[in-house]
Amino acid sequence: MYRLFVSLTILIFAASSAAAGTSAPKELKDLYFGEALYYSFQGDWFDTIARLDTELPQHYELDEPELDSLYYHINQAEFAVGDFELAYRMHRRAGRAITAVIEGNVEEQVRNEAIFRLARIYFQKDQPVNALYAVERIRGGVPPQIRDDLAFLRAQIFMANGRFAEAARILRDLQAAESLEGFSTYNLGIALLKDGEELEGRQYLDRTGRINSSDDLTLAIKDKSNLVLGSKLLKEKKFEGAKQVLDRVRLNGPFSNRALLGSGWADVFQGRFERALVPWCVLVTREVTDASVQEAMLAVPYAYGKLNVHSKAAVMYGSALEKFGTEIDKLGASIKSIREGYFLRALVREELKQDANWVVKLRKLPQTPETYYLLELMASHDFQESLKNYLDLEELRKRLEAWQGDLDAFEEIIEQRRAYYEPLLPAIDREFRRLDSQMRLRLEQRDRIEKRLKAMLVAPRPDYLATSKERIISEQIVQLEQKLTASGTAVLSGIDVRIKRLRGVLHWNIYTEYDQRFTEVHKHLRDLNHVVDRLKRQYAAFVRTRQAATQSYEGYDDVIRRQRFLIREAREKVGELMARQGHMLETMAVNELTRRRERLAEFQIKARFGMAESYDRATRAQTQDKVSR
């Protein structure tokens, strides 16, 4: 019996774990990690994980990852992946990611926090033995912010493993923890009861039921504690105590209907029918779909009958009968609508993302089931998990469908690029080859000049720096000398001297201006180097652009084909899983509605019986009255 309440507590805590605990680093260096966080802060877990799954492998593929900006956040990113996967309810993968962190070379506190999260995963997935094994691996210091949560989790794990005495010991130490106000006391009460410490257990439940707080969660656990204790006392026929405890439940809390019903019964068992009518009359005015309200609709005329107000009882039984009939019809229509698929179609509407109460508001739509009957079912962990899975599958289905369209668009882009580039490229390549050979030739020339100039630093060669004019004059002088020699005539002394003088002048100029010319040549070489650098940059830019042109349409076929195959397979699998998950949800809802309908049918029989009996008694009373008169 108490196992259920333990699981209720777990539920409340499980809900809080839906939000991942990762926060932004003080100084963000990697924008793409910041982008992943942007998605995570919006609860968009798929995009968060997909972003990190894209970034992390690329980071590790780098030759020097320490130069990458993600390097500064790599530990946080690795840790966060597990956190986000947990939030996305991928517990198996999250377990692996966190285990990797645990086994890595990390600080003691980081390691212990990772173990804490892993243990919480196991616990949430109903694997208490694994959770215990994990939590027992924690050694040394833990971060202060999780110290109380860890102790509480440890206690819950002990309880789930049936080790109530150890759980109680931990929970006693947690009584001062403000963040766990109400929860630690309540769980301690449950642990003590399970351990056979009845009196002390009740005392702690009682203490929880008297907490003063303005926090909604604390007030909810306070109500629940009172309800549990009151029901227990009622069952043990301690009616006065039960009444007092049940009356402590808030009238506007989630447990108030059940408390009001129980409070009335506590009075009835003590024969105080008038007093029982007080909570029950409040109850019957509430939402008719609530099980406690429906029960009160029978209980009120029953109390009137006991007070010998048979006529009113008969009228109220009649009214209840009518309402039960309406509700049974409504339930029948709801079951039909679920079987026809309206429930699932309504569940995946966009409004759900905008409004958390959308599922409850479904009832306002035509042909959707009466969701008020499903509230308790919807609050159950199994239904919630199944519903979330169904919604996640629907999201995956939409994404896969969109990606299929993306691949079509990619192929079209590739084809257009191919059609544009392929006719152009042969002519461009020909021209490039021509320019490339010219460029190589000029570069070789430049290299030769540079080499020669370097050699001239060691062995000066002024003749290398003669201008073209000087070279022509030198050639002409040589020709004149040859002519004179070839004619065989005696050379006029004047001509010979003049030729020598000319050669001397030429020689003089070349040798005296050598230093100046050598400096100028170096200046020209530097200018040439600038031009060559620009040429090389242009060359590299061209090569990159040329490569990019080919790469813009080649090499994608295999990738796209593979993606198509994967997407097709995934779509089939998602479709199949959606059908199964949807059927499961429908079955749960139909089972619940059927159960409620059967219960109402039983109530109908009881109401008919009660009405007949009340009429009978009223008539008999009237007859007796007449006779006595």
């Binding site: 019996m1 259920l4 699981s7 209720l8 926060s23 924008l31 910041g34 982008e35 966080l37 919006q42 994980i49 997909a50 799954d53 894209t54 690329q58 593929e61 780098l62 030759d63 900006s69 309810r89 991928m90 198996r92 993968r93 109903d126 059940r258 019903l261 129980g262 019964w265 406690s292 029953y302 308790e376 079912l377 609050a379 199994d382 239904f383 199944s386 899975n389 996640d392 599958l393 995956l396 896969l400 990606w403 990619f410 882009i413 830019a541 990019a548 813009s552 994608y556 993606q563 995934a570 699998k573 998602v574 899983l577 499961m584 079955t587 089972n591 619940e592 159960r595 009881k606 009996e613």
Partner: protein, 167 residues
């Protein structure tokens, strides 16, 4: 009547304690088995998403022309950001209206990639990008290049609001 009364009392206990019992017609094992298969398909689809991200980046935004613009809020900003418009070389690049959730995510330190596109090498309109000069990016491998460009593009992103780039 007393029999009925007993039934009702038992009913109270059942009611009070029957939160999680409703789903039991569908067995725990079934739920668990299906949940594991859902986790598997999530993992598969995430794998596809990561590969598609890379394919998209390679095909649509090659590293030598890619430009990405990011938006973030300086810590402690209290104003309510309604929308952002990005203009690249006088043309509208992106326009975004913020939901409450998105704004909250920015305030918590998240960074929004508001625009991804391609841009030619050279100087560009400073109103949008503060000196996006791809030649200056230390390109030595695709990955590093894309990271360098990304660092360049949003040079203004942590400057006080509003940056000149945004109107």
């Amino acid at each position: 009547m007393l029999y009925w009364l007993r039934g009702v009392i038992l009913g109270i206990s059942v009611l009070v304690l029957s939160f999680a019992a409703y789903a039991q017609e569908v067995s725990r094992e079934q739920i668990k088995g299906l949940d594991e298969q859902v986790q598997e398909i999530k993992s598969d689809v995430l794998g596809i998403a990561a590969e598609l991200n890379q394919l998209e980046e390679k095909l649509l935004y090659p590293s030598n022309t890619q430009v990405a613009i990011f938006v973030s809020l300086a810590s402690g900003e209290t104003f309510r950001l309604d929308s952002v418009e990005i203009q690249l070389d006088g043309k509208q690049g992106a326009h975004h209206l913020y939901t409450f959730k998105e704004l909250e995510a920015l305030q918590k330190g998240g960074v929004q990639r508001i625009y991804t596109g391609n841009i030619r090498t050279g100087e560009h309109d400073r109103r949008c990008l503060s000196s996006v000069n791809l030649r200056e990016a230390p390109i030595s491998g695709i990955r590093r290049a894309s990271r360098s460009i990304r660092m360049w593009a949003p040079r203004w992103w942590k400057y006080p609001w509003p940056p000149k780039a945004l109107r």
